[in-house]
Symmetry: C2
Subunit: 188 residues, 2 copies
């Protein structure tokens, strides 16, 4: 049995705002850079940046062109190497279709959350799926105040929230991605 692959989606819609309304957040440069480097470190296959806004997709594409083709490629080869993982998509459906186009089957949809869902599963379950059962998974992270309920409803697995020692629960999504990948794919 070969190991399954991990793909990652950073979703900018549908996500919640501070008041719990469904909104579209802006793509941030910081998320692109940090998450690409972390994804590359943990051997993630593709890092999908999901946004329905054409102007935002153009913005990401310009950054990618700079680091993948332009001056940035010579200046910083390790960044180039990380940015090769990025694909910009319009929706979660387009993201899943892209993976189906490669693998022939849909990945297990694994939604992440900072709050505890009654259906939440432990990290060990996803780890077993990937490492022992050879399943390909799509790890889905929400920006803003987290993924909208519609994403949790279609997810195959909802991951339990990351807990530290304290009751404070406001990790940046960049840090949450790093910790989640280390728990699922880290050595040591």
């Amino acid at each position: 049995m070969t190991q399954g692959r991990i793909d990652l989606a950073l979703v900018h819609h549908p996500v919640l705002n501070k008041r719990g309304n469904v909104v579209t957040t802006a793509v941030t440069n910081m998320d692109i850079h940090d998450i690409a480097r972390t994804a590359r470190t943990y051997d993630v296959r593709r890092f999908y940046i999901v946004t329905p806004l054409p102007a935002q997709r153009l913005f990401v594409q310009r950054i990618l062109d700079h680091w993948r083709e332009g001056y940035g490629k010579q200046y910083n080869p390790s960044r180039h190497d990380a940015f090769r993982l990025i694909t910009v998509t319009e929706t979660l459906d387009e993201t899943i279709n892209d993976i189906v186009g490669t693998d022939g089957i849909a990945p297990l949809l694994v939604a992440t959350s900072a709050v505890f869902h009654t259906k939440a599963s432990p990290y060990s379950l996803v780890k077993r799926m990937v490492h022992e059962k050879g399943k390909n998974v799509l790890l889905i992270f929400g920006t803003g105040w987290g993924l909208a309920e519609t994403v949790f409803l279609r997810a195959d697995i909802i991951l339990e929230p990351i807990r530290g020692n304290a009751t404070y629960n406001h990790l940046p999504v960049r840090s949450a991605v790093a910790i989640t990948l280390d728990r699922l794919a880290g050595i040591g």
Copy 2:
């Protein structure tokens, strides 16, 4: 035996640049925000931002005043809560002295690195020191291309580097802090 406490230092001097020279890096707003929130999540006691440059210490102090005392405190209480952990110091010595002033004894100095040192110890050793032996530790992270050799020479423990599945080794320091704290102090 009570558990030991973890303090964290983000060092801007002495660190290396791309060519391996000892330099002073600039403090970035992104590091302050992300690491403060992660430190708060994992119940870190103090987050020391170490820089010998007076203008840089003033810059950090202004950001802290905004979020700790000014308008930011009302606007974003969770950020206020994270920023309470931050202390700005000039040197690693001043940082250690501040801890000695609180605890009466020096913390175990735990230096982190993205490359493998011959003296490197596993995470389990530091975890045991904190959780079983009740030792207070100061986790030291370098900015730029990592801590200068002088810091490793005075460290009590050098932590093994974080490894993912790949050979790529360019995690942002913000992500390295998140993963390290999760390995040492996370639940789940």
